[in-house]
Amino acid sequence: MIELHVILILMIIGAVVAMEIKDLLSSVIALGAVGIGLSLEFLLLRAPDLAITQLVVEILSLVILIRATVGAHMPQERNLKKPGYFIFAALFVCIFLWFTAKAVMQLPVFGQPVMKMGSLYIAEAVRKTGAVNIVAAIILDFRGYDTLGEATILFTSVIGVLAVLRKTGRKP
């Protein structure tokens, strides 16, 4: 499982670069690298559905983000003068990490999930739905209602984008 560690560490490095680099375009591209790394991780973790989806979504969101930032006048990011806020945020993040680490220790060991529902789905999917891809059987049959919600979320955000991008909101 060493390759998972390597890719994940590279993703963290990419994320820090995306966060700290001054040029916005480079920063967006670094985010894209993190996303591609995530797609690779999905592939290694035996989730090909997610790997494909993550890859194409990453490309799309990269296009949208570049579209939004390119041509914009690049501001020099000013350094913050308030160290107190930095310390507060860093402290918050440290506390978050500490408690998360404690909680995560009580999860089942990596590689041995409980799979109470998962094994049920695996056993019954083909017989009950006729779909060979068990993930597809779950998202569109067993939990199809979730997918209706998911499609609605996308619809909502499209309508939201159209509403936000109107030239004028109020009638004169």
Binding site: A131, V132, N133, A137, Y145, L148, T152, F155, L165
Partner: protein, 151 residues
């Protein structure tokens, strides 16, 4: 004006070839969603990307003659209604979202009942929706008149 819009002739030439291939790949991913990895969502994003590819290569004006924001949003609503209708179809069997269509033989293209149809509905919705997000963002930067954004 038409000549100068978009990118160079090399890009346009290659785009003409690749766009149809990307489109075909999207349809393949869509139709085999229940057999192989992929499905309506990934397929829809790929189709949206193929249209975005066209827009980027040929400039907005050329692409808008084929597919504009109004058409995209109608297709999106239709996709949503189709998905909603499939969910309602389940009432024929007594339950919301029941898989009422025949399941067929596993490993066949036309198997697994509503899953294939749902994939098509999601595909329409996602493809049209994401393309219209892109168009709306792209059109906003155009200083000249934008009839398409007025609805």
């Amino acid at each position: 004006m038409k000549e100068t819009a978009g990118m160079s002739i090399i890009v346009k030439r290659i785009t003409k070839i690749t766009v149809s291939l990307i489109f075909l790949f999207g349809v393949y991913i869509l139709l085999h969603g229940h057999l192989t990895p992929g499905g309506g969502f990934a397929g829809g994003v790929i189709i949206a990307l193929s249209f975005i590819h066209l827009v980027l290569a040929f400039g907005k004006d050329v692409a808008l003659t084929r597919m504009n924001l109004a058409v995209a949003s109608v297709i999106e609503s239709l996709g949503g209604l189709l998905f909603w209708g499939i969910a309602l179809l389940g009432f024929l069997g007594g339950y919301f979202f029941l898989n009422v269509l025949p399941h067929g033989r596993p490993f066949d293209l036309f198997s697994s009942g509503i899953i294939l149809v749902c994939n098509v509905a999601i595909f329409l919705k996602v493809g049209a929706g994401l393309f219209s997000i892109f168009l709306a963002l792209a059109l906003l930067r155009m200083p000249v008149d934008d009839k398409e954004t007025h609805r």
